[in-house]
Amino acid sequence: MTELLWSPSAPSQPLLRVSGIQKRYGQQVALHEASFELWPGEVLAVVGESGSGKTTLLNAVAARSRPDAGRVEFDVRDAGLQDVYAMSEAQQRLLARTDWGFVHQHAADGLRMDVSAGANVGERLMGLGHRHYGRLRATATDWLQRVEIDPARIDDTPRTFSGGMRQRLQIARNLVTQPRLVFMDEPTSGLDVSVQARLLDLLRQLTRHMQLAVIIVTHDLAVARLLAHRMMVMQRGRVVEQGLTDQVLDDPQHPYTQLLVSSVLQP
């Protein structure tokens, strides 16, 4: 059915394929048989309340916490779909530094708080062997502007930044290598509403312009509506409903999704 995706650049295979991944902590099943595919440029929101397994899912897919069962395959450049847990640690690290990004809820977990903003942005490039100081600084300046941070702050450490600025710096640090897949764990929670709107708009623009595939974990249905093409609803470690974002929010089928949607004001 690929001809239906009437687009000159329609990709022919998924970027990511997750098959039956499971995770237990002792007797507790934290994640029960999750399977999905993600295609280039697709934004998938994973929603559900705390403890529903959404962060467990994110960490298992992002090769941060090995699942007890199932497979996670990623379309490695020039090599096709590869099992990420069959890769060597060096290969995983390279992937995490180049084609993947990970945006943490708390910017302090994703930034080096005691080095300059410019060095935070340049670090992934240096890890890839870029050494030309002038070019690294120019790239960092460009990225600070793209995430709306005054380039005059390039030599300041993130400790001197507001929460919203730190989060934007974390995004720049991840996107500088032009990744194809970015994981985001509640990137807007903990920010003031006005700061959230700015970050959301920025994320929306960047994901579209860069054709990024994104898996974003959020408990905020309005965030899902604005950013995501697709949604996955989790409850007690299970995916209870998934589909087109509008469909899940406008015509929820599962009792839990109905409860979730009816509990908020106009998602």
């Binding site: 009437w6 687009s7 697709e42 509008d246 015509d251 089928q253 599962h254």
Partner: protein, 242 residues
């Protein structure tokens, strides 16, 4: 006329819709029992009936905001293939909306911080892929649409969040008609417009018909419906027998 011009753009067959409310003791609200409807290029089907009869629900089923409980909704895509929206993957539906189905809802879903000009240009800008000439062409067309729908030029650089209801509705119309798509769904597009803008929307609908688009619309104003319809369909005929 070629086959492509006359074969239907939209075919609903045996479509049923009921809502199950799990938190209202599993109450089931039946809306449609059986919808059979085909719409050909150049047709404008106007849905008739009092409010609460499911006119908007029918548009939302076609646009896949709602899932059909039974039946098939087949759309001939801009690429010429057929897609059953009741069976399609989210990825296929996203592509279908981008290239094939335009949907003018009653309210603009506002995007924070994006200017009216860029809100309107976005469907074309998405296809431009960042190419500067194509981006400028998208903005140029957006300016023409905003001017035609009488949005004052001083508002173009501002986000529509603070605009009046009528202004937002006109931005919404421009955004959803700027890219000529084969199938247009219109949910009361003239509800808060003055006479001059209502006439402009009537002209736009006729132009879409003339270029071969298929349209399905709901109009609160009987005169507007009269002016654009090639066929009228009472939704009561699709209702579950009470």
């Amino acid at each position: 006329m070629s086959f492509a011009m006359t074969s239907p753009v939209l075919t609903l067959s045996g479509v049923a819709k009921r809502f199950t409310l799990h938190h209202q003791h599993g109450a089931v609200l039946p809306v449609f029992d059986r919808v059979d409807l085909t719409v050909a290029p150049g047709e404008c089907v106007v849905l008739d009936g009092p409010s609460g009869m499911g006119k908007s629900t029918l548009l939302k089923l076609i646009h896949a905001n709602y899932r059909a409980s039974a039946g098939h909704i087949v759309v001939r895509t801009a690429g010429g293939a057929e897609l059953d929206v009741t069976q399609a993957t989210p990825r296929e539906l996203v592509a279908l909306r981008r290239h094939t189905i335009g949907y003018v809802s009653q309210f603009l879903r506002v995007i924070p911080r994006v200017s009216a000009l860029d809100v309107v240009a976005e469907p074309l800008a998405e296809d431009a892929g960042g190419e500067p000439l194509a981006m400028e062409s998208a903005r140029e067309q957006a300016r023409a649409w905003l001017a035609r729908l009488r949005i004052p030029e001083r508002l173009w650089p501002l986000p529509p969040a603070t605009f009046s209801g009528g202004e937002q509705q006109r931005v919404n119309i421009a955004r959803n008609l700027i890219k000529p798509k084969p199938l247009l769904l219109l949910d009361e597009p003239t509800a808060s417009l003055d006479a001059a803008n209502t006439q402009t929307v009537i002209d736009l609908i006729r132009e879409a018909r003339e270029r071969g688009a298929a349209l399905v619309g709901i109009f609160h104003d009987a005169q507007v419906g009269e002016a654009v319809a090639t066929r009228r369909v009472p939704v009561a005929s699709f209702r579950s027998a009470a």
